[in-house]
């Protein structure tokens, strides 16, 4: 299995200037009953996006035709709460390729990387600049360059670099998958298991 390769992305953005967006908002629990990974994109942010009757709420950004793009820009501490990977499937299923925020919750970060969605962590100041650039012009663009680990606001040329560990970067650039890597060292793992302390068998 593999994920989509990620190199450079130039795109308009969808702004969500709310802090502490938790995974219960990204995908509410009632949508977790599926047994496949398909179809979660339709329910991304379901409770903010649709009213009780299932009609799109006009004031929510995903329903605002002025905003579109492959990148979601979100307030500080995105993806906190539950470990549900369904949140990453919803983000990926909606067609997003990256999420930009000034802080990410750990598990969400791993989950999104495992699904080919790049979490880009920028400084609070840079995040502010991005939000105000979008406020000025909804069609303003951003460039995310994974190879150089940079994110650039194209309207002003302002640039910041972001962190990603070398292994994950390589996986994203080449579309590799962690499990393939681990299966390749299966014998080492089998040997290792013999040494770990075990006091009661199941």
């Amino acid at each position: 299995m593999s994920i989509d390769k990620f190199t450079t992305l130039t795109t308009t953005m969808i702004p969500l200037p709310i802090e502490n967006v938790d995974t219960d908002q990204i995908i509410p629990a009632r949508f977790l009953k599926a047994t496949t990974k398909e179809g979660f994109g339709d329910n991304l942010f379901a409770d903010w996006r649709y009213d009780k009757a299932g009609n799109p709420k006009k004031d929510f950004v995903l329903n605002n035709p002025n905003y579109s793009g492959d990148v979601l820009v979100a307030g500080k501490n995105f993806g906190s709460g539950s470990s549900r990977e369904h949140a990453a499937w919803a983000v990926a299923g909606y067609g997003l390729k990256a999420v930009v925020s000034s802080y990410f919750a750990d598990i969400f970060k791993n989950n999104s990387l495992n699904n080919g969605v790049l979490p880009v962590q920028v400084s609070d100041e840079f995040l502010k600049k991005i939000f105000s650039a979008i406020e000025k012009d909804a069609k303003t663009q951003i460039e995310i360059n994974l190879e150089n680990q940079t994110v650039t606001l194209l309207s002003t040329g302002e640039k910041e670099s972001f962190e990603i560990n070398g292994y994950k970067k390589n996986c994203m650039l080449n579309g590799f998958d962690d499990i393939d890597y681990l299966l390749n060292i299966k014998e080492e793992i089998t040997e290792f298991e013999k040494k770990v302390p075990t006091f009661s068998a199941l």
Binding site: M1, P17, I18, E19, N20, D22, D24, Q25, P28, A29, R30, L32, K33, A34, T35, T36, K37, D47, K52, G75, N77, S80, G81, S82, S83, R84, E85, H86, A88, Y103, F104, A105, D106, I107, N110, N111, N114, N115, D124, N165, G166, Y167, K168, D178, I179, Y181, L182, L183, I185, K186, E188, I189, F192, E193, V196, P197, F199, S200, A201, L202
Partner: protein, 465 residues
């Protein structure tokens, strides 16, 4: 050479190899699974044409979706039933032990593991569920993972993880009579904020922690994830060993002696260093309640909701949005607020001590008219014990009812949903928008505070009942 922390000792002894400039390959001793986050992982194995690496290290129990009434009947809700059946089928096909619905050892995965002696000091434990941090109370490295990682752990008994940084949180001093471990952790999260622990593994220490029972320690570690931490842990001691001894899957005979010898070595060395340290004084802590839509928005029950000026400008929009959802105003006094529902249960406070303390608090009182209360044991064993100890009778005399075990209204995936706009005092761990049902307004608290609210129909300081 500097000494090692507890976290370092366990982590380092489980690293199969380190990938240069990348994560570690970490061997997993125990892998717990449940119905919601595992089906896609098994599907992945099937697509790859591979089998489970070592089924003996995996244990399953359905908990998130199951009804808390009439568990002997087929599950009515079709999608929930399918997920539970899928878990049964995947376990059967892969030779994995499952504690099936309504069988004697079933229940919430984080309640079941410890009470059966499956969770032991020094282990690495994962589960596709963020509250896996609960098991850290035994001095193990336990953390939640996503479904890709569930697939990874099933396929290879390892997961790829960068090593977290180390944080020490020390709580010294004595706790007041009605102050519980839930109040301690809500207090700490309110100080640390929901992102304050991101990137860290926390060791909880200090005299207040040492004096806690295992169940109280589990409540603390359970909610360490609510400050963003990878997990929380507490060094094992005599309290830990006494709790494990004699449980169904605990080591026995000579193995027990060997195990305890090893477990005693699991502590942070005196000269070890942490990346960050925080100290709290237990004497400062009072019964707590949350007023907002994340677990960091907590306050003393005797206090008030913060005023807008006291909030960081950047956070004011989120703060107002949150209070708007809750139907509260900045500066509101918390005591006296009317409530509609009470939920006692979950992997945070659904163990026998929690039910016991709730039952003791309501003894001799009656449930307030108009309050709906759901008392949900964390497992079948807890339910059984609650019946044997007479807790069920006490509950019924006061107008309450003991339901059957499961996650229930903690995340409202089954029928137990708080209706939109209603206020719920809940002993669970998350007060996110819609967590207990679309539009539900959750206030997190200890079982004692929940009891006081259930009797009076409003937020009430447990000292005044």
């Amino acid at each position: 050479m500097k000494g090692k922390t507890l976290f370092d000792k366990i982590w380092d002894s489980h690293v199969v190899k380190s990938i240069p400039n990348g994560p570690d390959v970490l061997f997993v001793d125990r892998h717990y699974i449940h119905e919601v986050t595992s089906p896609q992982a098994f599907e992945g194995l099937r697509e790859r044409g591979i089998s489970v690496f070592n089924p003996k290290r995996v244990l399953a129990t359905p908990d998130h979706n199951i009804p808390t009434k009439n568990q002997h009947l087929p599950i009515k809700e079709e999608l929930s039933r399918l997920q539970v059946e899928k878990l049964e089928k995947n376990c059967a096909e892969n030779d994995i032990q499952i504690f099936g619905l309504n069988t004697p050892n079933s229940g919430i995965v984080h309640v079941v593991g410890p009470e059966l002696g499956l969770t032991q000091p020094g282990m690495t434990i994962v589960c596709g569920d963020s509250h896996t941090s609960t098991h850290g109370a035994f001095g193990s490295i336990a953390f939640g993972i996503g479904t890709s990682e569930v697939e990874m752990a099933l396929a290879t008994q390892c997961i790829l993880q960068p090593k977290a940084k180390r944080m020490l949180i020390k709580i010294d001093g004595e706790l007041g009579s009605v102050v519980t471990s839930k109040d301690i952790i809500l207090y700490i999260i309110s100080k640390m904020t929901t992102g304050g622990g991101t990137g860290y593994f926390i060791e909880f220490a200090g005299s207040a922690i040492r004096s806690m029972t295992m169940e109280a320690r589990m409540t603390v570690c359970n909610m360490s994830i609510e400050m963003g931490a990878r997990g929380g842990m507490i060094a094992p001691d005599q309290t830990t060993f006494d709790y494990i001894k004699g449980r169904k899957h605990a080591p026995t005979g000579e193995n027990w002696e060997r195990a305890v010898d090893y477990w005693k070595s699991l502590c942070t060395d005196d000269d070890a260093e942490f990346d960050k340290e925080f100290h709290f004084d237990a004497n400062d802590i009072e019964p707590m309640i949350t007023y907002g839509t994340n677990p960091g928005m907590g306050e003393k029950l005797s206090g008030s909701i913060p005023v807008l000026d006291s909030i960081d400008t950047a956070s004011q929009t989120s703060f107002s949005k949150s209070l708007n959802y809750m139907g509260f105003n900045p500066g509101d006094k918390l005591e006296g607020k009317q409530i509609d529902y009470v939920f006692v249960g979950s992997c945070t406070n659904g163990r026998i001590e929690d039910l016991r303390s709730f039952a003791n608090a309501i003894k001799g009182h009656k449930k307030a008219d108009g309050v709906v209360a759901w008392i949900v044991p964390g497992s079948k064993l807890v339910e059984k014990q609650a019946i044997e100890e007479g807790i069920k009778d006490t509950l019924e005399e006061a107008g309450f009812e003991l339901r059957q075990p499961g996650c229930s209204a903690c995340l409202a995936m089954n029928e137990d949903k708080i209706p939109a706009g209603k206020y719920s005092v809940s002993t669970s761990n998350r007060n996110f928008e819609g967590r207990q049902g679309p539009g539900a307004r959750t206030m997190l608290a200890s079982p004692l505070t929940a009891a006081a609210a259930a009797i009076t129909g409003k937020l009430t300081d447990p000292r005044k009942v």
